[in-house]
Symmetry: D3
Subunit: 293 residues, 6 copies
């Protein structure tokens, strides 16, 4: 169960409206790595969790915070849009380039669809998608997904930080940046704890019997490009992070195997085949006309 | 530049057709964490890279391999579909439940649209989307994204491994599982090397001045749920993985701040406002009628 | 701010697993009119509201409940999937039609992607989309959208009610049906109150100056089909619900006006035009070759 | 059957081109509540209707009109784009801010993809989606959907009305506004007639046996937020619009029920489980290796 | 303007219901090359046309027919769904595999969302998308798009023809197949006429000054794979279809040019760069902290 | 197998950065007819091919080239973005219209998401979609699709050619234009060769028995609009391009057949039906309550 309180975790008030910036903040609200994504992602990971206790408590505990972050951003965006231009006549657009420029940089749908409000979309107006959510039931994989989401997310707050000098906006962003710092650290720590406790290990999924994978190629770096320096990294020699092998470097791929011959499905799929087949196909179709009709 | 050779990196031939399984393999080909995703993701990360040398060589070297994996899966899927049922009359569907069942489990579009061929879609028929690709220009963030992609990807090969006992299919999957093992290890090693060399560090982005974030909340676990055990993890006390702080545990959130008052944009957005505003709004609209007309 | 408690508003436990039904319930969770939609819709309407007080309190109060409904459904789905088949060999699919049938009716991604878990998608696997959310800032329009959402939503619970006889599932559905009954009534009542208080009226938006619309056609039913009975309804005669006019019936449309001539944009868009234009276009292009090069 | 006449229902000619405005009008043509949506929605409702006569005649009669509205808007957009800038050199963009501003506010795809033409997309370039269409087979639900569509639609014409002073554009918009006024009234009247005739009633679907829903909570307003005024509305006390109950107000939710324990699906889904399970899982996997191989 | 008549161009009645087949027909109605696509495509091409007369008349004349085809298919689908199973209890699914199989092969949303009705989606439930429409303003390009659409479309009717033996369904399909035959012929004829009349020519767009393209590579077949037979086709030697050159065959690509060095955007994008740059970046960031704060 | 070489097929370097133009080039990279589409389309057609030899070699040979075109465009876009504005304060936006205009015309996600990099999206930010790919297994249909793709693609390079005067950009575009010229010619030649060799013919699919289609309407132009000139084209009289008939012109459609009566699915779908049915429905539901409970 979720409960709502009409308060914000942190102040979310700009010094002044800025409709162009309101569009940019949509990325942080409704983008691939925006707040809707992490809120829903931690929720689904919790609901799909197969183990009670601290890991699931963590997912619940942080997920509800993220729903509050959605709210702070939506509130901020609505205020940034408060003086959004609307009644701009064509003359103004053509004669006052500053006004025109603002029109060009704003999100048309924040105006026409939401009436100067926030929307569950990104900064290019793409609707938020359930496809952004990762919740596999395997916590080591999912905590890595979460670490990535918080890294991309902090990048996507840091960049717009420099696109405004509004102290109110920056105040909220500095709060979000710090929470992203926490969440990066947290998921990395949680992933490490999973491995230490033996609950999961590399490679994910760690319980898949290694004997069923093709161990000969399990630690080879195979270079399919002509870059000469890919062999200099620690992924090309030395022990592997999963503790189960040694990296090796293959400067160019072994010859492959011949591709199997093309398929010949039922002639009634009407694909293009070899000439002898064409005759056969025609015959088959004629036959088919008799049979099926 | 890319070059193609009419060979496969590994054998991709099923022992016998299985149209139901052909649908499942679409996930590994065209799903969120399928081969199209990693091929395109490593490509875009390389093209967006700001640093020449081993990291970019790595991206190019592995990216081209993944394009070949797309090909192996498409080839496999086409063969699994070779005997896909087509001419199933209604009676057969209703009288022979086995045939009917197979029809139910197959991908209708593999038949009708591709004529018993592979498609750039997932196992539910959702078209592959460019939104699956992450390429931020920040390599620590992106290598973490890649590690996650290879973890989810290996999970999504391991699960269908148990959904068939076709030796030919399993042979290919065992190869893909091993390459995913390599790639998990590789991206984790590459991320570690980035930190060791000082090219990037936690929190991402590490060059954003920490003084600009709200450091008071940068290492607090704040519990927005009532789970009692979230404080037991290593994310709740002790040094943080970024080496810059100490985790602390906040059992329940501090009181927030009052939300700002609702916004009142231009009356010509026709939003619903307070009654006094309604009068004003009507007056404004009347005035507007005079002015703008 | 949102807070979470590790409880459910109502019991969500099936009597036994049923992987086929787990797919159906995705519609109620993540479909166009599923619980994610109403939770997010009421949230965005509250955040975009321009008026404090009872209407916004209502949106907040009901929105948080809906987030809890998402949770109940996700929990139910995970349990329905608990015995989902996985290790089905090809022989089993072909020899045991019952098993095969179940495979055909299940959501492949619930298995492969979520590991027998719930997902933010509908019953055909389409990811939930932010485009499902309506939040215009105009409360009379939005409460009508909400009434519709609860009607479609209740239909979409009533239908699957008959697709199972699991008492545990039906117990949860009977709870959701009742809440949808409440919410239909509630939004209809709230819309009526808006009109009674004079905050909004028909036609929406009620403050747009009627003098600016083409009042001659504002209450005409114009019949563009040849159905003879469309004139029998109360939309074809008598007073209009907005209290501002009388319906009239136009049995077939007036002759229209001639369409304007086709456009002729810049020749460098390379559209197809009339022959004389073609010569001109070629000349222009030749000139352009001189000028721009 | 549909027939076309090369006329427009109303004049659709701007006084002068305006490429920035052409983008805005895409919302009215191809947005969630644009003309394509209502044309297709009324069509599908008619084709899915289960009852002949006035209601279906109404759907057909109005649906064909809406297809003509698509045409008027596409015609208008093409004319607004007639002088769209194309050969803008980089210097011009950097030196003449007015030209640059216009470039910023235009739809790049109207130029590059359609060659200065209209497209089936919204004002942010999102393709029109079949997911916008609601056609459930239940007319009371669907007429409410239609009333909402016409309300949102009229809002989305009223707002852009103030974004231009082109008399030709406004002339068309004033016509569309009036038709939306008619259609709001019409669907509200039709919904009322359905109830009066006893064909449908509240709550939708009205034939679902009420005894099967949890009547105890069918009329409770339960406040999941801390707003104090949600109890002041007519949704919190008094008779309900469906005429079957009395609203009541529950100031805060009852304690919930404990969530069921986490699920433990087949170990071959490789989810993360408790430590004892881990051992078991490993054993199971080992066994599996023997069995399945 | 569009007008509707409550008749069908051809009979659309199945001999008996078949819910599994109803899903397949969704491809022909709402798929990428289904009837909605061609109806909308011909409409947008007409509205974007820059030339009055026979070509635009053709687009209008055929476009309206296609809207009627949507209607025939929707009508057919609704009838095929008339006996769609609904009240299937869990026991029935597990004990009667025939019923279960049918459940597996049906479209869940046709049942739950549309109440046994047609939907604007394809056979996998993907909503129809405006992105399927091609309307560029260049008629030679667009008529080629149309020829392709009618070819893919006829394929997608021919394949399902063999998936049923219902005489009523086949009767409608035989009508649609014939119309697709006409439309393939028609668009090919229209494209030829455009070239004969000199309105357009190859390569499209034919008025782009050839002197501005890199003529050295305008007729070279360059072989980026190792297939030996690509040189045997008429695309590798002899005159080109545009009448402006001779094909030549390049057995393997010339060496390319070195890729430009990686980019170094503003340090505040926080991309990963070379180590010296890292120091600089840190200094820049420090400076930035002073400047911007 | 694919191999990568760190070279470009052609120089891809702009004379100077231009962030506004970088957005436009996204269309050529990631739009419906951009380079990702043709690369993937030729790949899937090859993998789905049913015939070895020159046609499949052609697909492989050209497909790999297109992957290299993706790379050239991504490289170009990154350079165009190298000086993309980021630290634009609100004052600058409001006071320097040139800077502001550039902000308005740029792709916000290239900045915030990719850190001044290229993305797999079009010029409006829509993610590239697998739905753009056509690969039916029928080569005559698919080569026509390819000819169309290269025509639309060359149009979409020709138009942006005039939107810049940067010599470096134009140099790359002139190369791409020439390759598109080649590819248009090539697919038209390949389609002709398929017909000459008898592998495929018109109408597609040519092996579908013509006796099964409704030959009476296979060559009729039926005019559903009132344009008088559609009968003047070569699609209205004379021999048909498939060589199997004669076009005829039908100035207006024959009367159609009556639509079948509305459907009456199971009452538990809760659709709206006739009044007698309503009673029945209620009775049925009551009965159902007894039976199913």
């Amino acid at each position: 169960m979720f409960f709502h309180r009409q308060e914000l975790q942190h102040r979310a008030q700009p010094d002044k409206p800025d409709a162009v910036y309101a569009r940019k903040l949509q990325e942080v609200l409704g983008g691939q790595y925006g707040e809707i994504t992490v809120a829903m992602q931690y929720g689904f990971q919790a609901w799909n969790a197969h183990i009670p206790g601290k890991y699931r408590d963590l997912l619940y505990g942080i997920g509800a915070e993220e729903f509050g972050h959605i709210e702070m951003l939506a509130t901020m965006i609505a205020q940034l849009l408060e003086k959004a231009p609307l009644g701009v006549s064509d003359d103004a657009v053509q004669n006052d380039p500053t006004v025109a420029a603002i029109v060009g940089g704003t999100d048309v749908q924040q105006a026409i669809v939401a009436g100067a409000g926030a929307r569950p979309v990104d900064s290019n107006g793409n609707p938020w998608s359930g496809a952004y959510v990762t919740a596999s039931g395997n916590l080591l994989a999912d905590f890595t997904a979460n670490a990535n989401a918080e890294m991309q997310g902090r990048l996507q707050v840091a960049r717009p930080y420099h696109m405004t000098d509004d102290a109110g906006v920056r105040d909220l962003l500095s709060f979000l940046l710090a929470r992203d710092t926490m969440h990066q650290n947290q998921w990395i720590a949680a992933a490490a704890e999973l491995r230490e406790e033996g609950a999961e290990d590399l490679p994910v999924p760690s319980n898949f019997p290694l004997g069923k994978e093709d161990r000969d190629v399990a630690y080879q770096y195979i270079n399919f490009s002509d870059g000469q320096q890919a062999g200099d990294g620690r992924w090309a020699s030395g022990p592997t992070p999963d503790g189960k092998g040694e990296f090796s470097y293959v400067p160019e791929p072994e010859p492959g195997v011949p591709a199997p011959p093309p398929t010949h499905p039922d002639s009634r799929f009407y694909g293009t085949t070899e000439l002898p087949n064409i005759v056969e196909k025609a015959a088959g179709a004629a036959q088919d006309a008799l049979d099926i009709e």
